[in-house]
Symmetry: C2
Subunit: 182 residues, 2 copies
């Protein structure tokens, strides 16, 4: 059935946006491709590596020169997908995908530009802290959306005043200020 790894990944991403991560199962992906469940395992090692591949796809458009831009871009790409942060957290924990180390490089070099005096170690620490913050905060943001049954594309409710892009950007500013003074 000219099944391919790419076809599997994009079908998984379709199921993700339509039904959420809980309904992205190997069996449903297979059914959606008109194929037996076992057929997937010729192209993909296991479900974990499929999620890692989805993560790469989700994170690949992230760009930006400044940390502020990178933080907003990352948050934007995560919220563009249903359960995007949850996928990225699960996918980043699985190496073999360079998705998270690519992200780390982007953030680290932006921080080096904005705080040239800081040591490479400190820039790396700050980069990872910011990335984990965006992932974690966006995950909690999306979890609460799901519990309250709200649609993510709706007008931003006042309830997520504590989250949102603004506080993420503010964390980036704090990190840069810290790098400059230490």
């Amino acid at each position: 059935m000219h099944l391919s790894r790419d076809a599997i990944v994009s079908t998984a991403l379709e199921l993700l946006t339509r039904y959420g991560l809980a309904d992205v199962t190997m069996r449903r992906v297979a059914t959606n491709l008109g194929v037996a469940p076992g057929a997937l395992y010729w192209h993909v090692a296991n479900k974990q590596s499929l999620i890692a591949a989805m993560t790469s796809e989700i994170l690949s458009p992230v760009t930006g020169e400044t940390t502020t831009e990178l933080v907003s871009s990352l948050h934007g790409e995560l919220t563009r997908w249903r359960d995007g942060a949850e996928v990225a957290i699960a996918g980043a924990a699985f190496p073999e995908s360079s998705a998270s180390s690519d992200l780390e490089k982007l953030f680290t070099s932006a921080l080096k530009r904005e705080a040239p005096g800081a040591s490479p170690e400190d820039s790396g620490v700050a980069a990872r802290a910011l990335i984990h913050y965006v992932l974690g905060a966006t995950f909690m943001e999306q979890s609460r959306e799901q519990l309250s049954g709200a649609s993510p594309s709706a007008a931003p409710s006042a309830s997520n005043a504590v989250s949102g892009v603004d506080t993420l950007v503010r964390a980036a500013e704090l990190m840069v200020a810290g790098l400059r003074t230490l």
Copy 2:
């Protein structure tokens, strides 16, 4: 069978340390208590809320006056349990447990003490950023341990030089410095 919510939670935590989160299933918890699977649902709403209760138990010993102490304490309690960070991330996303807001208060007040000039909003942002960093970094730490099949109680390998408590503490110092200068 004098089944209770507490008994369920502590059995779940036993299974966690012995077999890992993937093997903490409602059915196994029930079997371990000598009870039918459905019996659990009289004391616990669902698996999600059981994990939230486990999270409260894991995070409750976290203490510290300074952010450095809090960061090490949080990292310590998470690594004391197999898959501790994964449980905490899943549990924190589920409200109804005050575990994560308690943690937020501890971190926020420590930051206020160390950077009294900062606004309450900034202290909150910094607190959440640090908490998410510790959770995320520890999760990746523990994921890699599992993949390499190493025991967590073994001597710290050189491979996790990038993670560990030191970089987490350093992030706390950067955050405090940022709060002081902004």
